[in-house]
Every structure is written in C-alpha cells, then in structure tokens.
Symmetry: C2
Subunit: 631 residues, 2 copies
C-alpha cells in the first residue's frame, strides 16, 4: 500500500476534484496540442510517400498540403457548428449516438478509441524520432526510449494531471513561437532569393519511379494525419469559462490558423531547401523538421531549442489521449458497453482502468512496429477520419431534424456545412483506406469491427442481467418462514458449536452432515468419536432443555468427493421444503497469516463457490468465520 | 477434467484399494530394488574418490568394499530384529518417535525425506549415466533425459502403481541374473589366470597424489551410498503374506546376500581388469559397470542387456522413493507436522501432493547439479545414515525398556545387536559428514535442520488452533436470539429484494445501507431514485401489511472506499447489539461464464473477505446468490 502511495500519491476525496474553468489562452495548449503537434509528422508522412520520385516529389508537396488545408478548413466550419449545438459535450460518440442511433454512436466510439491509441503510439515515436535526429547515438535505443516515455506518461496520468496546466502551456507556446519565428525567417529568406542552407540537408535520393495519381493519393492520405486532433475542442466545451461557446470558438480558430500556417510553411520551405524524408529505421536518420531547423539556423542553440520543443510537444500530445481515452471509456461504461470498473475513479480521481488499457494497447503497437513512426502512420488516419465522418453526418442529421420543426435558411446553411464536412471527410476516409490498405490500414479496419462486436456483446450481456433483475414490490412481508439449515461438519469443535448455535437460532430444521471415508481406505475414521461428541454435547443438552435436537447424518463418500454428496443433500432439502430458503452454514477457520493459506485446505471456499454456482435460487450460503487468536 | 482423466485415469473408489499380500519372490524386487541398484553407483562412487592416486587406487577398492560389507552385515542383523519387533511398520520415523520421543522421531522423518529425495536424483542420474555410457551420442542430453525420466515416473505414480508388480520383478531379476552370470564368469576367468579384457577399458590416469588415510576415509564414505535402501523391508512388513515376519526375514536376507555378492565381485573384478572411474561431465564417459561389462563380454548383445538392465533398475529404484516418500508425508501430516492435504488420497488413491513435492525437489536437485551422479553422491549418504542411526538407537532403547519389565539374555543380545548397529552407523555418519562436508554434504546438513524447524513450526501452529477449537457442550439451547442484519445495497433490484425477504425472515432488526459518491465527483447519483424505489417497494407494502419497515441508511463515501464504511457500520452494530449475532447479507450476481469474471466487479467477494478477516466473533456473512439465466 505504501508503494502505491509513493508512486501515485495519497487518495483524493471527491471534494478535491478540480473545477477551474479555462479561456482560450489555456485552451490552445490544452486542446490544441494534439492538432498542432501533428505538424511534426504530417508533412513528413507525405514526403515519405514521395521518396521514390526523388526531387520531383518536392514540387508535389505544396499542392498536396493545399488539399489537406482545404479539408482542414471544411472541418473548421463543421466543428464551429458542433460547438454551438453541443455546448456541453460534442464528442463524436455523443453526436453520432444522439442523431444516428446507438449502433452508429458505438461505431464512432470504437473509431475514437483506436484513434486515441494510435495517437499515443505515433506521438511518442515521432517525439523520439526528433530526439534521435538531434542525438544520433540514441538511434539504436528507439524502442526502449519510446516505452520509457510511455511509462512516464502513464504514471503521471495515474497520479492525475489536474495541476498540469502550466506543464502543457510552456512547451506548446515555446513550440509555436519558436517555429513560427524560424519559419517566417525562412520564408523571408526564400522570398528574397535563392536560399542557402546553413547546414546542408542530406541529398535527396534519385527517382526510382515517375509521379502518378496513385502516388499523389497515397501522399495525401498520409498527409491527412496532420489533421488528427482538430476535434478536441468540441469534446470539452464545458471546460471553458462563460461564455463558453465564444471561448471555444476562439480556441478552435487559434488552433486551426496556427496549424494551417505551420503545415503550409513547412511544405514551402521543404521545397525551397530540397528537404526530403529519410528512413527512420536506418542510422543517420533525421526528421524533416530537424533537417529544416538545421538548414535555417545551423546546428546551434536555436536548433536545439526547436528540436527540444518538438520532442516535448509530441510527448505531451500523446498525453492528450490519456485525457480523452479514459473519459470515453467512462461514457461507454455508463452506457453498459464496457465493464462498470471503467467508470469508477481511482484513488487520484482519474479513471485508472482506462489509463492502464490505453498504455497497454499503445505499448503493444510500439513493440509491434518497433517504435517507427512511418510504419504506424498507415494505421492512424482511419480511426480519426471515421470518427470525423460519423460526427459530421450526425450533425447533418441534427440540422435535418431541426428543419422539420422550423425551417430557416440559417439552419439549411448549417446543414450544408456539416453535410459538406461529412462528405469531404468520407471521401478522404475512402482515399485513406484505399491508399493505405496494404501498408497497414487493414489492421485498423479489422480491429474496429472486432472492438465494436466486443462492446456490443458486453452490452447485450449486461442488458440480459438487467432485464432479469428488474423487480416489483416486496411481498409476503408478514409470512416469516424460517429457513431449513444444513451444516456440514468435519469434527466436533468450537467452530461447529458456534455454527450450530447460530443454526438453532435460525430454524428448528437443522441437519448436520458428516462425510466419512474422505481420507481413503487407510484413513482412521473418527466417526465413533464424532457420534459420541454429538451425543454428549448436543443431544444430551437438548434433552435437558426439553427441545428437539438437530439431526446428525453420517454419509460414506467412497470416491472421497465432498462437494457432490453435499450438493445432493441440498437438492433433497430443496424438494423436502418446497417453500423455504435452504441455508447452508459453512464453518471456516479464517486464514490470517500468509502461511495459513499453505496449511489449511480450501474446502470451505470450494463448497461455497460450488453452492453459489450450481444451487437453486432458494439456497443461501452462510459463512461462520472463526479467527485464530495469535498466541 | 477430461485431460486429467486421460493423464491419470478415472477416479478410484476406496473399495478398489489393492490388498494383495506378497511373498519374498515379489518382495525382493519390490523392496530390494533400491538397495540392489546401489551396486551400480556405490563402487563407482568409491573409485571416483580414488582417481587421483591412479592405479594404486585399485588395490584399495577391495578392502574399502570389505569395510562397507561389514557395516552392511551389522545393519542386516539390526533390521532383522526391527522386523520382528515392529511387524506392521518399523520405519525409522515410527521407531524413533516411539522410543526416543517426538522430536527425535521428527528428525528421523526429516532425514528420511531428504534421503528419499536424493535417492530419486541419484537413481535417475546414474541410470542416465549407464545409458550415455552405452550410447555416447546422448551425452550432451544428460539433464533433459534425467528430467524426462523423472516426469514419466511422476506421472506413473500419480496414476497409481498398484498393478506395477510385474514391471518391477522382470527388470530386477534380469539385472540380478544377468550380472551374477557375468560376474561369476569374470571371477572364474580371473581365478584361472591373468584375465584378458574383451574390450580394453580406458587406461587409468597417472597418479597425482599418494594414498593416504583421508582419501581412504572419503572413498569409504562414498562407498557407503551402496547401502542405502536396506531399510525398505522393515518399513512394510505388513505387506507380506502370513507369516509375514518370516517372509520379511527371507526377503531381507535375499537382498543383503545379493547386494554383498554384487559389491564384492564388482570391486574384485575392477581390480583384476584395472577399471577406474571416469568423469561424467566429459564426453566419452563410461560408467564402471559399462567398462566392466565390455571388458568381460565385449560390446555385443550381452553388454547391451547388462546396461539395459542397469538403466531399468536404477530408474525403478527412483520409483521406490515415490512409494515411500508420500506415505511418510502422510504419517507426518497425520501427526500435524505437514498440512492435512498430504494425508488426502487423490483420485487414484495415491497421496498425490507428496508425489508432486518429491518430483519438485528431485528436479531442483537434478537441475542444480546438472544430472551428474558424482556431484550428488556427497549429499546422499547423510540422510540415509542419520535415519539408520536414529532407527537403531530407537531399537536399542526399545530393548532397554523391555529389559526393565523382564530381563532375559536373549533381549540383552538383541539390545547389543541394535546398539552395535547404532554405533556403527553413527561412526559411518561421522566419517561421511567429515569426509564429504566440503564436497556437498553441508547442503544436506543445512537442509535437515531447516526442514525440521519448518515442520516443527507447522505442528506448533496446528496445535495452537486445535487448542483454541477445543470446546464443551452446547449452551443456551432455548434462548433463540435472532441476529441483527445489515444489508449493503447498490440499487433496488431483484437480488436486493430477495436478500431483503430473507433478512426479514431472520430478524426484526434489518438495516439496509447504500453508499453514495462511490463514482466520484462526476458520477450521476441514483440516490433519489433509490429512495423512491425503497418507499414504493418496501415502506408502502410494510405499512399495508402493518409491520415495521426495515431502515434505509444512505452514506456518502467521499474517498470512494466501500469496505471501510461498511465495516464501521458492522462495528457499530456489534456495540448496539452486544449479545446478538450480526449477520451481513451480501447479494451477489453469480459469475457463471468466464467473461462474467471480466464484466463484473469483485466487491461482494472483497466485502466478504474483509468481514471474515477483520470482524469480531459474532459476525457471520450470508451470501445471497443470484444466478443469471442464459437466454
């Protein structure tokens, strides 16, 4: 327990839950991190696809980025409207559930879960890619470094991140300010004429194939990963200070504008300085941003701060999944798609089980793909774009319903915007699936229905149980029918006597049962001794008190089974007392010290479990504990 | 269950216990195997010690064997008398306990347990040594082969070896007849003149040191391992057909004569053919018996059968420990030195737990020493000779007591014989400890007191519990004080209603407790709903029936703990109802399918366990199960 306290901190009371509301100033780092940090891997992902066409790829990167930005702006307007319509929680699970029905909502939730998990894996692996670009000696340790960062983030989140606001704001603003400075400086140099790189980037390998539509589509699909995380603001409008919708709108606008600038500037300068992607699996790898920073400012302090901010922002962006995933799991658990434990806050008021699940899934991904961003990217965008599409389609349906009540051109426009968003993201999703299927998207496409089916089955099971547990009022409140009692006993001792006392206080019908021959053909039987004890300690006192004595039955168990004969007696009692509860008393020496678990048998537990599992509804099990006093 | 049935066979009834009695014809293989097979490693163990003196060692092996034989004959007469005095069971544990007190008996039992375990390890490793002598290609697989044989023997014993009589008799008699033939032939050749080996044994390495007393003592100590197993007959006199003592005597005589001949002939012929021991860890190793058989008969069919019989007999000799060890554990368990489970026959009427423990301990030894006989030998004889000494000392005390009642010269002679046995084996034990201490005997000398202390502690714990459980007659048979009932409830449903019905049938004092705030600051409370349900389903029906309604208490648990507040209420109830039983009703959805264990929480189990562990003696726990009907 003290190890837990050391690792996680003391248990928090419900009243200690943080309730501070935020403005756009805190909103941009807290909710924009995921989206902004995508700039660090989105353009690189597109450039990686363009590698085989050599220098010709550089002419393609700007129009591809343009297409991505077009999609980004469509999404911007779509989510602007979602924020207005769902000012408390406009997550795609909620929006899709409410407007398109529970199954579609569950599908959106599933897609989101997958997206969150991949965001952790991609964020961490891209962060470590930035690190190994700056410090090539660390390159062989890519996977262990990824897992260490994951473990640290997991632990921090299990402790709770209520006080982590500042920890997010500083690196995010550092990243934004530093890189905007760098990029503006670079763009100015580029516009002034042919730019000379301070540190020359590695040469772009010669082309091995020609530019084609298929390649462009694949590069676009990879570039779309830059958009993941844009939905974050709409998930948590309630976190903003009043007027929350206005603050949320400003935050969303800030994030989208910053992201758009970063993407466009990176693409333009990559073309100007002839910077291509490199293979992360090879030593000497350098990320696109690392090459860019080195080309613009050389490998000095400016480069170090730039790369340091990328590392920090990417690792923190993994952290945003750790905020969203457990809360999504909680929503799903409260709708009975997941076990209730996902909705129970742990000692630090966070949903620990969801955090642990996310960490487990992300570590599986990191290990399976060796911590290489490039291999994870094809899996990534599917979940995010499926969730975009379902959310926007849900919003379109939302406005369609609103139109039924009172049609207005404003609502029609809104429907058009969200409809356009749905169609655009659906088209992008189609492109992503086709372009990335063989490279890894098939994994996501397999996992999403599997997870959907799993959660659907959980819900069905819970619903079955709920249906069976529905119940009306109490009846027979005056008919106090005492139970019939069965008491298995090994020998006459203090526990047996305690149990028998309790049995007599419950009922006149007490049947004590002793199984003999349990110790095999060579066991020396204590049956005679037991009968003598019974006569002296039970029958004689009962006769003196003038009350009927309980019955003792001795049964031989030739196969040394003890569960089966006792269960048979319970069944017989159920038949003999058709309208009474059958109470089975189980006397038990309570195991206190660890060695007691080695010294004593588990027959009491086994009998209890067997009775619970297999007996009829009228059977209850009464444990009569006997604690050993330490001497 | 069906896997178990396949591996172990169907469950046997107590009435199927084998009861056939044996004569000396079956007795020699069944009880002599252990002793006779010692001939395969005893002489070799002595020769291994003599290695450094080169050819000079060969002149020493015959007198050393002579000393071993002298001790063997003293033991023969000692056990002859033990058989007479304890015609049912004269194991050293029984003899020492009865005559020298429980602690000495326990020491003898401990020594025997160690001896049995080492016998398994040595028997198997020596058997595999014979095999790798014949098939050198198998040499690198020594340890895996040892473990495979151990696994096979364990499985056979778990199945029960009642029908294994023939399986023992055939290899034992084959071994005895074949080797006596070979050795007689060899002795005849040796007496006829200088013998020429058919296959020349590897040359004996040159001496690196001179013969000294210390070396002779060490060789004698190693040679003493040839005597282990001589006590087997005295352990099971009751297994013989009437007159059992006479059959047992004949069996003992047969075993000792055969063993003595084997030892003497092997030593003589080793000298005649200049056969020394070799290092088992090196490839090309050949056991002494392998060299001897090859020298006498060449590497043909005769050799193959000879080595095959050695392998079979050694593996079967390990098997005799599997008969003795579990029965010894059972005796110790019935005297409360071991958990009761050691005295409970398994499905095949064997003491499975003892078998599994022996297999575990032997496999640890085999792995730790790499399956090399020579490394195990120094550990071996300590246990056996300690048990010999205690057994003989016990017999001496037995006759001393008999002398007190009626002194006769016959009894005095018996006391002298057993006294001599005790002294001789004690001297041998001393030599073994001194000579073998550094080579490994220290392990045995550490383990024996440790095991002794462990079993002694177990006995003390059991005795404490027994003392506390001792109890007189029933009292207050007429005062039926109903229990006070506490019922924790999450929400109003069918289980709660069932539990409440049962609670009302038990007592007028029923307290229903609901903990709120368990789901943290964001949980949506169902407290109002619960109160409404309670009013409608409990209070109103009670008012209509004109009976007092049970009380509902709702408690906020700000730290989301559920055990602690409920335990506190139980403590309060204990104070409020000082002379009544407090019954805590725990309604529980019974987990039926494996996935239920993932879907539902373990709060019921946790509460039950906490109450059993920590509450006062007046608390009982009532489980009200609710089984889900599969739909």
């Amino acid at each position: 327990m003290s190890v837990l306290s050391l690792l996680l901190g003391r248990r928090l009371s419900n009243t200690e839950a943080g309730g501070e509301k935020i403005t756009e100033l805190e909103g941009v780092p807290a909710m924009g991190l995921d989206a902004l940090s995508s700039a660090a891997y989105g353009p690189e992902a597109a450039l990686t696809i363009l590698l085989p066409v050599g220098a010709a790829g550089l002419t393609q990167i700007v129009p591809i980025t343009g297409a991505v930005l077009l999609l980004l702006f469509i999404l911007f307007f779509s989510y602007w409207q979602t924020i207005e319509a769902y000012p408390s929680n406009g997550g795609s699970y909620t929006v899709a559930s409410e407007n398109l029905g529970a199954p579609v909502g569950l599908l959106a939730g599933t897609a989101l879960m997958v997206d969150y998990t991949l965001n952790v894996a991609v964020g961490i692996s891209a962060g470590i890619a930035a690190l190994t670009s700056a410090v090539p000696a660390l390159h062989p340790w890519t996977l262990p470094l990824c897992l260490a960062v994951l473990a640290a983030i997991t632990l921090l989140n299990l402790r709770g991140t209520q006080e982590a606001g500042l920890a997010f704001a500083v690196p995010t603003y550092l990243f934004v300010v530093w890189w905007i400075g760098l990029l503006v400086f670079g763009l100015a140099k580029a516009m002034a004429g042919h730019p000379a790189p301070v540190t020359r980037p590695p040469p772009i390998p010669a082309a091995t194939q020609a530019v084609g539509l298929w390649l462009i589509l694949r590069a676009f699909a990879s570039g779309c990963t830059a958009m993941t995380g844009v939905e974050a603001v709409s998930n948590a409008v309630s976190a903003f200070r009043a007027p929350s919708v206005r603050h949320a709108h400003r935050t969303l606008a800030g994030i989208v504008i910053l992201l758009a600038f970063l993407l466009l500037a990176i693409a333009t300068l990559a073309r100007s300085y002839a910077i291509g992607a490199m293979d992360q699996t090879r030593p000497g790898y350098q990320s696109v941003l690392s090459q860019l920073a080195a080309a613009l400012a050389g490998r000095g302090v400016i480069y170090d701060v730039a790369i340091g901010s990328v590392l920090a922002v990417l690792c923190l962006s993994a952290n945003t999944s750790f905020v969203g995933f457990p809360r999504l799991c909680r929503l799903l658990a409260r709708d009975r798609y997941l076990p209730h434990s996902f909705a129970m806050p742990g000692r630090r008021l966070v949903y620990s089980l969801g955090i642990l699940f996310l960490a487990g899934a992300a570590s599986i991904l990191l290990v399976a793909f060796g911590g290489i961003t490039d291999r994870l990217i094809p899996l990534f965008a599917v979940g995010a774009f499926l969730s975009f599409t379902l959310s926007q389609a849900g919003m379109a349906m939302h406005w369609t319903r609103a139109l039924r009540h009172a049609g207005s051109p404003k609502v029609q426009l809104k429907r058009f915007v969200n409809g356009l968003g749905a169609i655009a993201t659906a088209v992008a999703l189609g492109i992503i699936i086709v372009a990335k299927f063989a490279e890894g998207a098939w994994i996501t496409i397999l996992v999403i229905p599997l997870l959907f089916w799993l959660m659907h089955s959980v819900r069905r099971r819970f619903d079955t149980v709920r249906r069976q547990l529905r119940y009306g009022a109490m009846q027979h409140l005056t008919r106090h029918n005492p139970p019939a009692v069965m008491l298995p006993m090994e020998s006459w001792n203090a526990i047996t006597a305690k149990a028998l006392h309790f049995a007599i206080s419950l009922s006149q019908d007490v049947l004590a049962v002793h199984l003999s021959a349990l110790e095999g053909p060579e066991g020396d039987e204590n049956e005679a001794e037991l009968r003598r004890d019974w006569q002296r300690n039970v029958v004689m006192p009962a006769q003196q008190a003038g009350v009927p004595a309980p019955t003792l039955v001795v049964l031989r168990s030739e196969y040394r089974e003890f569960l089966e004969p006792l269960q048979k007696i319970v069944r017989e009692m159920e038949q003999r007392f058709p309208d009474r509860t059958i109470a089975v008393l189980i006397p038990e020496v309570v195991k206190v010290k660890w060695w007691d678990y080695l010294l004593y048998t588990y027959r009491s537990r086994q009998l209890q479990a067997a009775l619970m599992r297999q007996s009829g509804r009228r059977v209850v099990v009464i444990d009569v504990p006997w604690r050993i006093v330490e001497e």
